[in-house]
Symmetry: C2
Subunit: 682 residues, 2 copies
């Protein structure tokens, strides 16, 4: 027996979505009408029959999450119909400057948008992150009779997303983790931008997802079989130990004269085509943005159902508070996004006599001391746990309990060798709320996840990357693993803090700022090799992004450096002193945080009067902003014991002293006052 | 009946490989002994029974290609045994500075290494590229009785590679393309760096590859079932319409006391363990790098088989030359890597009165005129053909003939939405020889392929990226699609030319240099919006990477810019002239090519005497190297019609004139001579 009870307004509502899609794209003269028209029935069934959310309280914690992975206009239309803060005028402003309806949905910009999509594959993986977050928080906080956190995550996805490697990675992990509350609807319309998917995408998608351990369902007529859609969703919800994918055969641009062709994918429908579409639906053919009252009424019912569910949930939460006051307090704090009071006090502090350690090890020490007090921290590595040093002793793996390898309450995620999937999943974990995800790989392989990292920053997800083996200092693995361009790439991403700490205090500082920055992702670039603890470094000073580590008055030279090269700069300064050249050392672990300091401070750190030389065992690109002269790697690194690799490239105290001397002489010969590179017109 | 005839030396040879692996890693005290020990039988069977290559002529064109995707010491051992230019001393120098045996195999560095591997998943996708190259060149040049190009491609891969999205993308495409000459051996040892693969990788790999359309075989005892291995390879070779994957169940570190555990993955074996291993093989337990004469003899037979095959092939080629002189001449030219004489003459030249066009359109025009004369150009797009404008009219798709969508002789590749796979496949196409691959997507999504792009540059593969929609100028798609950090990321990669041409002549110049640069990949960053043809641009001038587009003597200001912003800089110069401010304009389409010019030239372009202001609708990071002041995007772009987005960010003639005026005033007030940013100590 079908789960579905038809309503007289179903066809009307679906026609409303289809004609609205045509109108929205038509008015913007830009966008993708085809997929929204094809997916209108699935969206209608999902939102009127199943979806639990309160449009008037879009941040209700136990709401169902919806992700439109092939991001497009459909979502804006649904948000409007459901009563989120999105008016018809907003729909009319689709793809116009500063509107609430930009070309692709942006999290934090438009009410009801959970994650930023458009770049293909990302939304799919974000959805896996949502489902993991729900599974984890449910396992930690639910109690008998208190099923507080049990929402579903629904993802609509297309061929394009499924072709992307990031989606494959996330799908494989989702199957491994047996995420029962994840339901993906795959819009199998046989069309992508290059035309028929026969030209490039002929794999058996159902079989592929079976291989990942998913429940695989299909609906042959996604254009009008509402009962079939409803039954499949029902079956997806019932399966508690597997994620579900529903392959929905649809006709792109259904109802258009060009339906089923590539012509309706990325271009507006012609005026006569839209008119015919409206006539067929019984709508006034010349009226644009027509929305029958019956459609609004239908969606109002859905919205009221959500509001009722939320109010019941609030009652449940009150009862929970009485019964489990500690758990309630912690959950409430986590939902608010505030970290526990005083966690900063546990950050390790070092003095110069403390033994040299690799900053990846210093990172492990930080994680070991702060994790017990911050249950929000859910971390993992892309199969480099022993190298990244991200698993805190005694932590439990996040695994389906049937595996006997861990539980859903576990806080350590085994991502497998899936960097891009990991990054996109972490965006989902962060977007869900209550979780501060950290992820780990070698710095060089953060590049595999570049597509997800930039969306962290754009969407303001607080994701922390533990990026170890951050230079030629990794030694033997060689140039295939030694980052050159990675740091400047990440430094150029807006709203991303790239930290390269030089010692223990700076490592603590990087965690301090990263954890305080609720709307900014951070990449912590950490060494494989041991680093001495430096005289002059403190958490407070390093927290400003750049500071004078070693001060001298009337300097002949300032060397500005980061991470593992700061101690080499100090060594060079010692050698230069012996030759009568007074050298200041500035440590600059984080450009973006330094840039956010007031100008007076910045000019006091990188002051006029003597040349400034930058030193980093990476590409010099970008250091010209902070220095007059740059020393770094001329091209690729090399394979060998790390000390020998440093020698090969002249990054030693002796050679940097020689370089510094050359710089001082050059500017002396120039005979003009040296002005700070920060003194600028713009 | 089995295809396999055992030889008395088989066990001895396999033991040699296993003990050598332990010794090589032991001496270096760094590396991965476990996988080579586990894969020794498969390697032995492949190289002694099947592999067609001549170690004394490692570039023979029709050789079988071998890729060790989970890059490690096994390949060095095989190269040595087979007689490539790699001595025992080279093996002893594993992972030492400047040795022929760096931590991961590097193409172009060590004789017999086809592609650079180590970064997981890349080698798998390179192998797909090899198989595509073979299929294509065979279809173009083979004739009845002249099966000139028919080699196999063998890829050894591990769990790590198969978890990577880039491998999933390439595998799906390989299945679609029905690449019969591709044989992948999957080392299913149930171990990855984090321990048992049960923690993260539990998908059904066989089913997954069936879903992609591969032939899927398995050998249950990869540790000693040589006949089983041989039979599977034989079956793989016999299947002509599907790629083959052989799941080989092996024991990592087979023979070690720690076999089958994560302990042998990435650390040297203990001394007593190595001794026991040698004793068991009947080798002197204290002798390191022991290679029995019988093992050398066995591999010599394999090498001689390859030499004989090559000499037969050379005879065949001579006969082909007589029968098909034109085809022979073209094939010989392609193998040599030389482009046809005079192709440069066909490059379009523009004058200012020619209509404004988008540089993606200018790129299409270049491709249209040069493609007929350069059959080496094999291009495609990641499902953005109509936007990237990469399909030249009349070109045929590269498809299996059974699809009726094209043929293997076709030159246009439908990559699907698989940017990372596309980049890594293109590396394989380039490494095969005879092909200059170009690939296309939006500039923003080149980031998805960053892992492959950096390996193009490191490995010196001539791959050309047609990267359109290169700024906020793409307009409505919004910040999710508008690159900010992408240009500086690519500019910081050594041995990669990032071109951002400003008009028609500069677009021609970028193709000219990209096609002449046989050992350098290039990314051509192209606009969606129309660009006027500029007074002063020529192919010759632009080919120097940067030049004075608009000269004035005694200038007050120089604006240096690239791509779509150069014409805006010119407009600003006009407005400034009206206010009595003399402004020079430098167009700098390619930093790295400009950097390679002599210093005198560079200083003549970016000369001292007046402030230099950079202008680009991207992050300003890095422009400090070439300018005193920078104007660009402060953070993310915005969704809207592109002219409005440019206005929002002040990138208009009017505003840039105002900015320029401010700069001029500031440096006047400073009252000191302005020195070129290129005048430096280092
Ligand atoms: Ca589609
Ligand atoms: Ca393995």
């Amino acid at each position: 027996m079908s789960s579905f009870t038809p309503e007289p307004t179903d066809d009307l509502s679906i026609a409303t979505i289809r004609t609205l899609a045509a109108d929205v794209v038509g008015k913007a003269n830009s966008g993708h009408p085809g997929a929204p028209m094809g997916m209108a029935p699935a969206a209608h069934v999902l939102f009127t029959r199943f979806f639990n959310a309160n449009p008037k309280s879009s941040k209700w914690f136990n709401r169902d999450r919806f992700v439109l992975s092939n991001g497009c206009v459909l979502q804006y239309i649904l948000l409007h119909l459901l009563g989120y803060k999105l008016s018809v005028d907003d729909l009319k402003a689709f793809r116009q400057l500063d509107s609430l309806t930009p070309g692709h949905p942006e999290a934090g910009h438009t009410d009801g948008i959970e994650v930023t999509t458009g770049p293909l594959g990302q939304g799919f993986a974000n959805g896996v992150g949502f489902a993991m977050a729900q599974a984890h928080l449910g396992a930690v906080y639910n109690r008998d009779g208190f099923d507080l956190i049990n929402n579903y995550t629904y993802v609509f996805t297309g061929d394009g997303c499924l072709m992307e490697g990031v989606a494959s990675e996330a799908a494989s992990l989702a199957g491994h983790l047996q995420l029962g509350n994840l339901i993906v609807v795959y819009d199998d319309n046989h069309i992508s931008i290059d035309g028929d998917t026969a030209v490039a995408f002929t794999e058996n998608v159902e079989q592929r997802f079976l291989s990942y351990g998913w429940q695989v369902l299909h609906v042959d007529n996604g254009d009008s079989d509402l009962a079939g859609i409803s039954d499949a969703i029902t079956q997806g919800r019932a399966e508690k130990n597997k994620p579900t994918i529903i392959r929905l055969r649809t006709t792109i641009g259904y109802g258009s004269k060009q339906q089923g062709t590539h012509g309706v994918h990325g271009s507006p429908l012609k005026a006569d085509d839209i008119q015919a579409l409206k006539l067929k639906a019984g709508f006034p053919p010349d009226k644009t943005f027509y929305i029958p009252k019956e459609t609004y009424d239908t969606y109002k019912v859905a919205a009221l159902r959500g509001a009722k569910l939320q109010s019941e949930w609030i009652s449940l939460l009150s009862a929970y508070e009485k019964r489990y006051p500690n758990e309630h307090a912690e959950l409430a704090r986590r939902i608010s996004g505030k970290l526990p009071d005083g966690w900063e006090q546990t950050l390790p502090v070092y003095k110069p006599s403390d033994p040299a350690q690799a900053s990846r090890k210093l990172s492990e020490i930080v994680l070991s001391v702060i994790t017990p007090g911050i249950p929000d921290l859910i971390g993992g590595s892309a199969d480099l746990t022993g190298s990244n040093l991200t698993k805190v002793k005694g932590s439990t793996d996040f695994q389906h309990p049937s595996t006997n390898l861990g539980t859903y309450a576990g806080t350590y995620i085994r991502y497998g060798v899936r960097e891009h999937g990991m990054g996109a999943i972490a965006n989902g974990l962060s977007a869900y709320g209550g979780i501060v995800p950290f992820v780990a790989t070698f710095l060089n392989f953060v590049s595999y996840a570049a597509g997800a990292v930039r969306l962290s920053a754009l969407s303001k997800h607080q994701v922390i990357w533990v990026a170890t083996h951050d230079s030629i200092g990794l030694g033997e693995d060689g140039p295939t693993h030694q980052p050159i361009e990675t740091a400047v790439h990440l430094r150029a991403i807006p709203n991303l803090d790239f930290w390269r700490p030089a010692d223990g205090n700076e490592t603590s500082a990087s965690y301090l700022v990263a954890l305080r920055s609720k709307e900014t992702p951070s990449v912590l670039s950490l060494s494989r090799q041991n680093l001495p603890n430096l005289e002059g470094s403190t958490i407070e000073r390093a927290s400003r992004g750049g500071y004078v580590l070693h001060e001298v008055e009337g300097e002949d030279l300032t060397i500005v450096s980061s991470g593992s090269e700061v101690s080499i700069a100090l060594e060079a300064a010692g050698k230069l002193k012996a030759e009568g050249i007074k050298t200041r050392i500035v440590s600059m672990p984080c450009w973006s945080v330094f840039d956010s300091q007031d100008q007076q401070y910045r000019l006091s750190v990188l002051r006029s009067g003597a040349p400034i030389l930058s030193l980093e065992a990476l590409s010099t690109t970008g250091w010209q902003k902070y220095s007059h002269e740059q020393y770094g790697l001329p091209a690729w690194g090399a394979s060998g014991p790390y000390q020998k690799v440093y020698e090969k490239f002249g990054i030693t105290g002796t050679n940097i002293a020689a370089v510094g001397k050359k710089v001082v002489q050059f500017y002396r010969e120039q005979g003009v006052k040296v002005i700070s590179p920060l003194v600028k017109a713009l």
